[in-house]
Amino acid sequence: MMKSMLPALLVVLLVSGGGVNAEPVVVVNAASAVRQLSKDEVVNIFLGRYRRLPNGETAIPIDQPESSALRSDFYRKLVNKDLNEINAYWARLIFSGRTSPPVQAASAAEVTTLLVGSVSSVAYLDRSQADNRFRIVLEFPP
């Protein structure tokens, strides 16, 4: 029993260790005119208050998959809430239909795909994934 539990524990540790190492940064398509976003602007875009970029263009936020450690890290750093709280928030709003949660990517790869495909998209990636196809518009302090 002890033996069977140990690998699972290790996975968790790895994942979480990977989470610790993960450093979310907010990025846009490198072709986008947006150079930088404030934290408030990022909050408004991701939590559905305003879906516009500073240049007036519609912004399309993209969330990492539900289970992604990056996702919970991102919201923790952005508004200091855990994912349950974020979900509860969206649960109150979804009903009225006035606004909607960000686009849900099925995987991390899909996020990059969606980003590359649209200059309006805004997403978050681990710093390691942010290559020259993307532009970092907001970094969280360590």
């Binding site: 939590l47 508004v79 928030y89 009903f95 009225s96 239909g97 606004t99």
Partner: protein
């Protein structure tokens, strides 16, 4: 009757007390209730609003997180749902939710124009992700109707509670009042109605009230009754005493001999006694028919103004004022009354009046007597002085007029009085006074000053001629023979005259000067008049000084004896001397006896001086005797020294004291001495002669030179007066006269001394005439004792020369 009324009104009065206290309690409670309800309403309203606010806040708290989400996401649907939920609470009247720019929800209940809510509950809504950031706000208004209903309920409850308490308290007060106050007071009141305090009845203390205020009230009422009863008794006693006193004062008032009256400040009489009415004959006076308005001014005063003045004085001075006032009454002799007035209060004066007519009459007669001479009926000295003062004052006021003052003294009046008796003297004075009076005008004054001294003031006399005429008339009147009991008497008078104002301005001085002039007339022999001369004053002054100096001279032994040698012409030798007195005045030097002996005689000081002379002479004789010189000394004796001033016994005592033989002492007297009182003088002369003293008659030839006296008196020696001797020349009258005197003296067996020998020829002539002794300047001046030895030696030498 009164008692009945009291009983009828009694319950009402008591009920009144009860009703009043109950009403007071109700009104006071109502007021307190209203205040309490108002306060409660106020408090309840505040609490209701606070509670409503609290509930709404709590309501908001439950939906706050959802509200934050709605506002953050600007979700109107969500906001509308929340507002709907809030409105389901009955307290909420309306809800309004706004995001930053837009209204998310605005809903309300009831009609739109309903009552405006009193308060609004505002709450800001913050972002669910950032507590610092406001994303909207909610406004809730509570429903006022709900709150009001709640307040009304609270107030109503309080009011009901208070009413209930009020009813209880009022009931309790009424019961307590009735039991503890109204009932005992009613009992006391009932008892008081039937009580007779004068008979000693008193209230009893109600049961159970022994230590309450009611009990104390009963004690106080009883004490008050006691003091009232005692005050009534005292008052009664006083009233009886007052009646007795009033009766007494009435008796005094009615029976007083003095007039008593009361007047007001204007002089209107308000009351007077019978004596007052009698004094002024009030019942007979016509007072315009109205006796009650009689004014004191209207009484028959001689001078009503003085009465008014007296009334004013009494009003202004707070003391009794008095004055003698003259009245005029036809029906009586009364002429003077004395009035005393005193103000008894501001408007009332009390007065006393009595008849002082008799007093005034006796005063007047006494005044008249004081200035009248009772014997002659003319003025006396005081009267004259008073008139003089009046005249002087008149002159001082008008600076015109003037008068002559005459003083008249009858010559030799004393002799008439002594010789013929006082009644004759009085009769003469009366006659003289009549005669003088006949010479005077009506405004002149005649007075008898003393004894036979009369004074006359001739008023308005300034003309010397007129004055002389009047004076000579007066003198003539006096000289007329007057008959007393049939015997004729011839009177003469000496008169002094002064004139005012030329001789003096001061009355005493004027009188003194007139007296001096009169004395001067008298000294000049009488039967004449002398006008005052300032020299008379000087002389009088001189005499006054001399007199005091003389007294001091006797005290301080300022007298000395000078000696003039007497020569025996037959034996041609010195046999003695005449002792002559000199006065060594400390400032004026040597003074001769002519200047002071007359004054010494007049004042009697001659007696002391005479004794000194005898003593000094005896001392000198003793000194000579001791030197073996048997001189004789003669000394002058004045008439004033005879018989007692230098009595024979005194003389003898002195010579015996010094051991001198009386024969060595000669006493020189003048004829005048013998004329004074022959009997006494003769007695004295005989005594001293019998004792062995020698007696010289001095100044022979100048006076009477009566031969019968020469025979009558026991004399040893005659002194020929120097006036004959010093003028003696061969063959002239004096020569003959001296010879005759010497011859006559010798024939009577007397020794002769010649005085005033000034020349050698005198001495020779006298010697030839057979004169025994001589003295005079030819031989020697009178010299003091210390020079006498030298003079004696010189004389011895002179006499040794052969006579021519």
């Amino acid at each position: 009757m009164t008692k009945q009324v009291w009983t009828l009104r009694d319950p009402l009065r008591l009920r009144g007390l009860l009703l009043r206290s109950a009403l007071t309690v109700i009104v006071a409670s109502l007021l307190a209730g209203i205040v309490a309800v108002a306060y409660t309403a106020q408090g309840t309203s505040q609490r209701a609003h606070r509670a409503s606010e609290t509930r709404l806040n709590e309501l908001l708290d439950t939906v706050e997180s959802t509200l934050a989400v709605a506002c953050f996401a600007k979700d109107q649907t969500l906001a509308g749902e929340l507002a709907q939920g809030l409105l389901s609470n009955s307290d909420v009247l309306s809800v309004r939710i706004t995001s930053e720019q837009e209204v998310l929800a605005d809903m309300g209940r009831g009609p739109a124009g309903g009552p405006q809510p009193a308060t609004l509950l505002n709450r800001p809504i913050y972002s669910p992700f950032d507590r610092q950031k406001q994303v909207g706000h909610i406004q809730l208004s509570p429903d006022p109707l709900v709150i009001d209903a709640w307040i009304r309920e609270e107030v109503w409850f309080t009011a009901i509670q208070l009413s209930w308490q009020l009813g209880m308290v009022t009931f309790a007060v009424v019961v307590i009042m009735l039991l503890f106050i109204v009932r005992p007071i009613k009992a006391m009141s009932d008892r008081l109605h039937g009580m007779n305090p004068a008979a000693g009845e008193r209230l009893a203390i109600p049961k159970t009230h022994a230590h309450t205020e009611i009990g104390q009230l009963v004690i106080d009422i009883n004490a008050l009754s006691d003091s009232l009863v005692s005050a009534l008794a005292t008052e009664h006693q006083l009233r009886i005493q007052g009646e007795v006193d009033e009766k007494k004062y009435h008796t005094i008032f009615d029976n007083a001999e003095s007039g008593l009256f009361l007047i007001d400040r204007h002089g209107v009489l308000s009351s007077w006694n019978p004596a007052f009415a009698r004094l002024f004959d009030i019942h007979q006076m016509p007072v315009n028919g109205n006796l009650s308005l009689l004014n004191v001014r209207q009484l028959p005063w001689q001078n009503p103004d003085r009465v008014i003045e007296l009334v004013q004085n009494a009003l202004h001075q707070n003391r009794a004022v008095t004055q003698d006032l003259q009245v005029q009454l036809q029906s009586s002799q009364r002429s003077w009354v004395n009035m005393v007035l005193r103000s008894v209060d501001n408007n009332l004066l009390q007065g006393v009046v009595h008849d002082v007519s008799h007093l005034k009459e006796s005063e007047a007669s006494a005044r008249q007597l004081a200035i009248t001479d009772p014997l002659t009926g003319v003025a006396n000295r005081q009267g004259l002085e008073a008139r003089l003062h009046d005249h002087v004052q008149d002159y001082a006021a008008s600076k015109s007029g003037g008068f002559a003052l005459l003083l008249i003294n009858l010559d030799d009046f004393r002799r008439i009085n002594e010789g013929m008796g006082l009644p004759v003297g009085d009769s003469i004075l009366q006659t003289t006074s009549k005669r003088l009076s006949a010479c005077l005008k009506s405004d002149d004054t005649l007075a008898r000053l003393a004894a036979d001294n009369f004074g006359i003031i001739l008023n308005h006399i300034t003309d010397g001629e007129v004055l002389e005429r009047i004076i000579s008339r007066i003198m003539q009147e006096i000289r007329q023979t007057c008959f007393v009991d049939g015997s004729p008497i011839n009177l003469r008078a000496s008169m002094g005259v002064t004139l005012f104002p030329s001789d003096g301005f001061d009355v005493p001085q004027l009188l003194r000067q007139t007296e001096l002039a009169m004395d001067s007339a008298k000294t000049a022999g009488g039967d004449n008049h002398v006008f005052f001369d300032p020299k008379l004053t000087e002389a009088a002054e001189y005499r006054r000084h001399l007199e005091s100096d003389l007294r001091s001279a006797i005290l301080h032994h300022e007298f000395v004896l000078f000696y003039q040698p007497v020569i025996d012409l037959r034996a041609q030798r010195l046999v003695g001397a005449e002792a002559l007195i000199r006065w060594r005045h400390p400032t004026r030097g040597l003074i001769s006896p002519d200047h002071f002996i007359p004054l010494a005689e007049k004042t009697g000081m001659i007696v002391d001086i005479g004794l000194f002379v005898v003593d000094a002479a005896c001392q000198q004789l003793l000194a000579w005797n001791k030197q073996g010189l048997a001189y004789t000394l003669s000394l002058n004796v004045s008439g004033r020294q005879i018989p007692d001033g230098l009595s024979p016994a005194k003389l003898l005592a002195v010579v015996q004291h010094y051991g001198i033989a009386p024969g060595q002492l000669a006493l020189e007297i003048t004829e005048g001495v013998m004329l004074r009182d022959i009997e006494q003088s003769l007695q004295w002369l005989k005594s001293v002669h019998a004792m062995g003293f020698r007696v010289y008659l001095d100044d022979f030839g100048t006076g009477y030179s009566s031969l019968s006296y020469l025979k009558l008196f026991p004399l040893t020696t005659l002194k020929v007066d120097k006036s004959f001797v010093q003028d003696m020349q061969d063959g002239n009258n004096e020569h003959t006269l001296v010879g005759a005197i010497i011859a006559m003296g010798k024939s009577l067996g007397l020794e002769i001394v010649a005085e005033g020998v000034e020349l050698k020829s005198h001495a020779a002539a006298l010697e030839r005439m057979g004169c025994h002794y001589a003295q005079g300047h030819y031989f020697s001046q009178p010299v003091p004792e210390e020079e006498f030895c030298a003079v004696a030696a010189r004389l011895t030498a002179l006499l040794a020369q052969p006579t021519v």
